[in-house]
Symmetry: D2
Subunit: 363 residues, 4 copies
C-alpha cells in the first residue's frame, strides 16, 4: 500500500439507481483493492439540480453540473462515467473519447449494433470499460476457472435465464426502460445482454441462433420477453430466455452448463454460491455440490471478507473496477471493455433480426 | 370395499424396466384405490424365455408366452398392455384393438404422427390408456388445480426441461432407445414427450413453434437433445429443452410457469414437492413456498400414506391406473388416453419438421 | 429366482396406519428382494370386525380374528407381527415367543426398560425384528458406509432432530399416542426412539446424558417434547430434540454429523438424498454435496428402480423385511432386533430419569 | 440530506478483521443512512506500527497511535471504538467512559459477568453500543416484526445453532481466540454469544438452563463446543449449540422458531433470506416459504439496494451503526447496548456454572 497514488478525477453522468452503485464502487474500490490510483469524485452531472445536490452530498461528489458537454471537455477530468438511459450512451461516450477521456459506460453499450461499433471505434486508443458487472462475481469467475481447467470436459449445453417481474409492476413499467426511444430494447437490452455477456465469457462465440421476442402488454413498444436457441463455436447448444414477466423472480440471472465431465449452476439470487457436479467422481458419490465462493482460494476472497462472510450486489461493481484499475496500472487489456460489449450487441442484433425474419441467423 | 369385484385379465408384452413398473402397478392398484376391479396377471409375453420366467415368478404372472399374436387373440384376455420398444406399439395396439381388447400403451405412443393417428382410430371405441404417468403425480395434479382456480392469473411463461445423462453413458447408449429403427426419436420421444404432455395438460394447446435437434455423438441416428420455442393458444410463450447429455441430472423433468398472479415450479427429482409463489400476498411476505404434496387435501393423499410420508416413482403408475379404473367403472373419459398421446405426437411431428426446415411451424 | 420358496404364514395384530405399511411390505418384499420365502397373509387380528374385514379385503388377508391369543397359539402360524399400541407389545410378544413363533414388533418395543428386557429375553432363541424402518433407508445405510470407510474422520458432533406437528393438531392429539396408559411415552417413544436408534447405529453407544421433557398442553400426561445432551463412547458429543409441536414440520427426522474430515446431513422429508461435505477435498472445491441415493452403487439400488427414480416411505419397511429374510435364510444376525430395541429403551429410560432428577445420568 | 452535519471523531483500537469491518461501517454509514452526523476517522490505535500505517492508509484514518491511553484522553475524540481481544475490553471501555467518550465495543462485551456489569455501570450515562451486528440483519429484524405481529402464535421452540470449523483448522486455532487469558471463553464467547443475543431479542428472557462444554483438542484451555437446554419466560423451550468443530459449516449462525401458528428459520450463510411457514394458511397450501428480505417493505430495504439485490456481511455493521446514530440524534435508547450485552453475559455465566455443576441453573 506504500506506493504514491495517482488520482483519477471522475465525472459521472447520471443520478439513478445504477449511478448510486457506481458512486459506491468509486468510494470503496481502494478499500478492497491495492491499486496505484485514487478516485476523485469530481463532478456529478444530471438534469435535476435537487437530485444532483442530494446525491452529491450523500456520496461526496465535489461539484454538480447540468451541462455534461461542458464537463466532458474540462481538462481536470480524467474519466467520464456514463450511467444514463441507453439512447444517450453513444453521444456522451464519443464526445468523451474525442476529449481524450477514459470512458466507462453502463450496459447495454448502445441501442443498435452500428452505434456500438462507432463507439468502440471512438475509444479504441483509450482505456475503456463497460459495466458488465456480473462477469466479476466471484462465483462466475470461479466457474470460468473450473471450465478452463477442463473440469466440465466437452461442453454440451449452456442454458441461460434472466427473469424478473418488473414488467408486471405498473410502477416500474413507466420508466425509460419501457420506452423504445430511450432504451432501444426491452428485456433483451436490460437482461438478456447480461446473459449473453456471461455466455460469451464462459462458453465462447455463438455461431447461429433463432429467436422470438414477445410483448405481453398492449401498447408497449419494447419486448417484455426474448428467447433464443443457439449453436456455439465449441459445438455446444444453448437456450436463452430473458423476461420482465417472470413473476416470482426478482433478479434471477442464472446459467447452467452441462459438459461431458460435469455441470455448473449459478443463480444471481444466491450469488455467493456456485453449484458443481463432478462426473469424474466415484458414481455413488456424485451429487450437486454447493460451494460458497467466499474463500479460501476463490476469486476476490483476499479482497473482501473471509470464508463464510458473504458479499452483496455492490461488490460486483467494486471487483470490476478493481480489476480494471489493476490492468490499467499494468497497461494490460481490460475486460470487459467496449469490444466485449460490441460482441454482445452483435448477438442482440442477430436476435432482433431473427425475431423479425422468423428464421436462423448466422453470426 | 364391499362391492363384488370384476377381474380384468391382463396380458403384458415386455419384460424391461417399464414392464416392472407396470407389474407393480397391477399388483398395487387395488391396495390403494377402491375400484370394482381386480387385475389378473394372466400372461407375460416377451422374446427371451429365461427373462420371461424370472419376471413372471417375481411378479406372479400366471403364464408366459413368446407369441404375443396368439395371446392377443385369446378370449380370456381383457386387457393388452404394451411395454416394448416404440416401433412395435402400433402393430400390437391395432391387433389388440381388432381383437376387442382394452389397450394400455407405453409412451411415446408411436414413432410418427400418422402411426399414432391410426392407432387412436383403432381404439376409438375401446377403453384405452397411455402411460403418461407423470401427469398423475400429486404435485402436478395439484398444480393443475391451482391453475384452474386462477391462482396464477394470466399465464405468461411455461418453461420445460427434461434432462438426464444417459447419452453420456456408453452402457445406456447401446440400448434400443438409441436406434432410430426401434425408437423413432431419441430424447424427443423419450423425454420431450413427457414435457409436452405435461404442458398440454397444464397450459393447453400450442399454436406454433420453432425447433432445433442436435446429436452430439457421431454415428448416432437419433437426437441427443431437442429444443423448441413455442406460442400457446392462451397467449403465453414457452421454451422446451430435452436432452440425454444433461450431465449432472439423472431425471430432471421440470417445469416452471409464470403468470400475472404467481409462479409454480416442479422437478421430478423432488416429486413430492410443488413450489408456489403467490404474488397476491402482501409484497413483503411473498416468497417461493415449498409445499410437500402429501396431504392434507392433496391429490391422492387419501390413497397413499399420510402427510409427510412421501411416495416414489412407482406410485405415479398406480395413480394413473387407479384413475383409469375409476373412470372405467363410471364409463367416463379416461385421461390420458390415445387421443392425448396423438396431441403430443402432433407437437413432436411439428418439432421434427421445424428442426429440418429451420423455421416456424403452425399447429 | 429359481429356488423353491418356503412360505412363512403371518398373523398380524393391528389395523391402523402402521399395519397398512406392514401389509404392504408383506405383499411387496418378494417383488424386490430375492429371498427363499413367500409370505402368507394368513390372519389379521383386531378388535373391530368391520375394520378387520375391510383391511383384509384390501390387502388380501385370508382370515380375520378378534382373538389374538387363539391366533398366536395356532400351529399354522409362523410369524406374529405386532402393530398395536405400545402397552400391548409385551403381552403379545411374550405369548408369541412362548408359542415358538417368530416375532416382529413395532417400535418403540415397550413402555419401559424392564418390559423391553423381558421381551428380549423371551425371544432370545427366536428370530425377531423391530420395525426401526428408518435405519434401512438407502441414504442412512449409505451414511453408515461412508462413516465406516473413515470419510468423516474422528466424529465430533451428532445432532438429531425429530419434529412433527401432531401435538398442535387436536384431531391427532386424541389418539392413543397421547395417553400414557397406552403409549408409555409421548414424543420420546414415538419420535425420539427413531433418533436414538439411528444414532446408536451410526455413532455407537451413548455414555451419559442430561435431559428435559416438556408438555405444552395442560392435562396431557405424556411429553410433547423431549431433549437431551449426550456424550458418546467415541468421544463425540450430541444433541437430541424430539417434538410434536414442531409446527412447520410434518416428519422431519433429521441428523447431522460433523467429523474431522467431513459432514453428513439427512432429513427424512427428503429421504432419497444424503448430503456430504468432504473436508478432504481441495479447499476451494469443498461444499455440501447433495447425493441422490438411488444408485448406481447405493444400498438397495439393485432392488428398487433405477438412478433418479425415487422411492417412498413404504420402501423402508420393504428393505428392512428384505434384509431380515435374507439374514434368516443365512441364519445370520438380523439387525435391528429386540436387542437393538432394548438399547434404545435403555437410553429412553435414562432420558426419563434425567428429566426427573434434573441431572446427568451415566449409561 | 440538507441539515448541517455534526462530526463525531472516532478513535478505534484494533487492526484485525473486525476492525476492518468497523472502518468500513464508518466510511459507509452516511451513504446509506440519513443521519445528522459525519464520522471522522481520526486515530487508529494498535501495537504494530507497520500494520497500523497500512490499515490507516487503506481506510483513511488520519492518525495512528500505539498509545491508546493517551488517545482515549484526547479532547478531540468523541467516540472510542474497541476492536481488540476480549480481555482488554473492560480496561479500555472504562477508561474511555471516564474520559467522557461515547463507547462502542465488540462482542462479547467481557470475559466475565462482573466485568461486564462494571463496564455497563461505567457507561450508564453515556451513549454506548455493542456490535451485536447480527441483530440488525434485515431478515432477523423482519423475523422480529412477524413475531411481534403474532404470526407465530404461542412460541413452543427456539432452536439455535452457531457452527463453524475454525477449531479444526490449525492456522486459526493459534489465534488469541483460543487462549483463555485473552478470550475468556472459546466457542461460547465467540459464537454462542451471538445466538444468545438473537434469542433474547426474538424470544425474550431465559429462566433456567442446563449446559455442557466440551474441548476436543488436548491442551486447549477454552471450550470448542458449548450446548445448553433452556426454558424461557414465555413458556417455550430451547436448545443451543455452538461449536468450532462444525466441519462443513463456515459461518452457520442459525435459528428456528416453532409456534402454534407457524415457523421461522434463518441461517446467516443465506442471510438475505428468511423462511416462514404460516400455519394459518389453508392446509393444502402450507409450506416453508423462502422470503428474500431485500424489499419491498422490508427492514433497511430503503437504505440499501432494491428488491432482488442482496447485501453482504458488512451491511450488518452499517445497519447497526445507522440505527444507533438515528437513535442518538433523537436521544432515544440505542439497542443493542451494554445492558443488552450484560444480559448475554448473564446467560453465558449461567452456562459456564451449569457446565461445571452439571445441573440446572436458574436465571
Amino acid at each position: 500500500m506504500s506506493q504514491p497514488k495517482q488520482t483519477l478525477s471522475v465525472a459521472m453522468i447520471g443520478t439513478g439507481f445504477i449511478a448510486k452503485a457506481h458512486s459506491n464502487a468509486f468510494r470503496q474500490v481502494t478499500h478492497f483493492f491495492d491499486v496505484p490510483y485514487e478516485l476523485g469524485l469530481k463532478v456529478l452531472c444530471g438534469r435535476n439540480r435537487a437530485k444532483l445536490e442530494s446525491a452529491a452530498a450523500q456520496w461526496g461528489w465535489k461539484e454538480v453540473s447540468t451541462d455534461w458537454q461542458a464537463v466532458v471537455a474540462r481538462p481536470d477530468i480524467d474519466v467520464v462515467d456514463i450511467a444514463v438511459p441507453n439512447n444517450l450512451h453513444a453521444l456522451i461516450a464519443i464526445a468523451a473519447a474525442k476529449a481524450g477521456k477514459m470512458v466507462w459506460c453502463e450496459k447495454p453499450l448502445a441501442t443498435s449494433l452500428p452505434e456500438a461499433e462507432s463507439m468502440a471505434q471512438a475509444v479504441c486508443e483509450i482505456p475503456n470499460l463497460v459495466w458488465f458487472n456480473y462477469r466479476r462475481i466471484p462465483a462466475v469467475v470461479f466457474a470460468k476457472r473450473l471450465i478452463d481447467e477442463g473440469r466440465l470436459g466437452q461442453t454440451y449445453h449452456y442454458r441461460a435465464l434472466y427473469l424478473n417481474q418488473s414488467g408486471n409492476d405498473p410502477s416500474k413499467a413507466a420508466t425509460w426502460r419501457y420506452q423504445r426511444s430511450e432504451a432501444g430494447l426491452g428485456a433483451a437490452g436490460d437482461l438478456l445482454s447480461h446473459s449473453i455477456d456471461s455466455a460469451l465469457y464462459l462458453n465462447g462465440p455463438i455461431t447461429e441462433l433463432t429467436a422470438m421476442m414477445h410483448t405481453f402488454v398492449p401498447g408497449r413498444d419494447v419486448d417484455d420477453a426474448t428467447f433464443f436457441l443457439a449453436r456455439y463455436a465449441n459445438g455446444s447448444v444453448g437456450t436463452f430466455e430473458a423476461t420482465r414477466h417472470g413473476v416470482g423472480c426478482r433478479n434471477r440471472h442464472a446459467f447452467e452448463i452441462n459438459g461431458s465431465k460435469g455441470m455448473l449452476r449459478f443463480n444471481l439470487e444466491h450469488m455467493n454460491q456456485l453449484e458443481f457436479y463432478d462426473a469424474a467422481e466415484t458414481p455413488s458419490q456424485q451429487g450437486m455440490k454447493n460451494i460458497t465462493v467466499t474463500g479460501p482460494d476463490h476469486p476476490y476472497s483476499d479482497n473482501f471478507w473471509k470464508p463464510g462472510h458473504i458479499i452483496g450486489y455492490e461488490h460486483t461493481f467494486i471487483a470490476l473496477l478493481g480489476d480494471f484499475l489493476k490492468a490499467l496500472a499494468r497497461k494490460e487489456s481490460r475486460y470487459p471493455d467496449f469490444d466485449d460489449a460490441v460482441a454482445v450487441q452483435r448477438v442482440l442484433d442477430a436476435v432482433e433480426r431473427s425475431a423479425i425474419s422468423r428464421g436462423w441467423i448466422k453470426l
